[in-house]
Symmetry: C2
Subunit: 249 residues, 2 copies
């Protein structure tokens, strides 16, 4: 399997998940479905996961997904978040996405393809060697001053000098917003991000020229495709990341 | 002029602003237009304001607007934010709104009608005696525990015990999200909110059963329709606001 196969599969998944999510009225999306591998599963989470797995299970893939853990057999590993931003999707707030990351092993270091699909706008982000949004190459912004930053932060616990701070509710999508330069950084060092939430987005962000590290400045390459894995993520452009790390230490 | 007139006028303004904003491609919205009464005016701000004023100036109204200050003559005062969430509108992030508040004097205390229009979804919020979303009565949520809250906070400067914290970028719309129970509180005590940003939303929120105070627990009734006015806003349901005030003091 190469990145072209991964893109084709991802697009089929996106089509399937989009149709599935939109088939459920907003008022029904939040209904309790059951207890999954990561806690409470809402109806819309399960419907989205089923729609994604319908496509992915046809392939020789080991798929790690939020609600059901590992399924499938194969040499290529996939971290799947069928619906990142369930809170928004349930309330009709139009910020939620699908995220996929393909890797040659259980390690994020061996990832070779990232894919994030904006389920509200239809925008598609992906990266193998370079990062794209809807077929156009994207790159991170180039700001150098903290006071000018449009930042995404979960959650500030002290005053921060940024121009603007947002938390929109879909880490997969927000990391892509940084990748395309709409925002200047993404910081979540609560120790709560799961691998499937951000593997796709941070792969895209790195290929868009960004730096992705933990709060100590370490690479996330050692992170594994496991339900129990937790990540701290600091991402921005190469001029800024040291300043950001100093700020949050 | 009564609240029925205000609703009719507001709806005409919404139609006009929606058409005007959507006529500008996202890539053009952020172009520099000039320096207005509140600082830099972007093209989309000016286009939205012109579209709103085209309607409002036909009426006998004193209109306070972000870009041009006071215009028009009349006994009824209107605080207008033609586009709340410019940052989002310019980037294609689908969270921005139009906000209007009608008052019998320059004081927020004499307001008699609030109107917020979601320019992305078309959802309409308004209140005179009661609060409505798309003709259905809305009321604030009823949570009592801080740990369960879905909170909107600009910006946390210490650890907060809430379940979830968001900052979506349109105060007018976010106060309405609290009014309809999608979120449990809205806190912005940076001293930066302007009267036209939130007058419409907080009027709706109060009529939906919420409490709106400043960070000391004081009513905002003494706030005036003036460009120089700044507000601190803490809003939530009646069971929670004392706990919130204790938390942020």
């Amino acid at each position: 399997m190469d990145e072209r196969d991964a893109l084709n599969i991802s697009r089929e998944v996106a089509k399937s998940v989009l149709k599935a999510v939109n088939s459920i009225p907003i008022g029904k999306r939040g209904e309790f479905y059951g207890i999954g591998k990561s806690g409470v599963t809402k109806l819309v989470d399960k419907v989205a996961e089923n729609a994604a797995l319908d496509i992915l299970k046809r392939e020789r893939l080991r798929i790690l997904s939020e609600e059901c853990g590992y399924v499938g057999e194969g040499d290529v590993f996939v971290a799947l978040d069928p619906l990142d931003g369930t809170f928004n999707a349930v309330r009709g707030i139009p910020i939620y996405s699908l995220s996929l990351c393909f890797s040659d092993s259980e390690n994020l270091a061996d990832a070779f393809f990232g894919y994030v699909f904006n389920l509200c706008s239809g925008d598609e982000y992906y990266a193998s060697e370079r990062a794209f949004k809807n077929e156009t190459v994207i790159t991170v912004g180039g700001k150098e001053n903290l006071e000018e930053l449009n930042a995404i932060v979960y959650y500030p616990n002290r005053p921060l000098p940024f121009k603007r701070i947002r938390a929109l509710g879909s880490a997969a999508l927000e990391t892509c917003f940084v990748a395309e330069g709409l925002f200047d950084c993404f910081i979540d060092i609560r120790g709560m991000l799961r691998i499937f939430d951000v593997a796709g987005g941070i792969y895209i962000l790195e290929k868009a020229g960004g730096i992705v590290v933990d709060e100590k400045g370490n690479s996330l390459g050692s992170k594994r495709f496991e339900l129990s894995e937790r990540l701290n993520v600091v991402t921005t452009n190469k001029k800024l990341y040291r300043k950001l790390l100093e700020l949050i230490l």
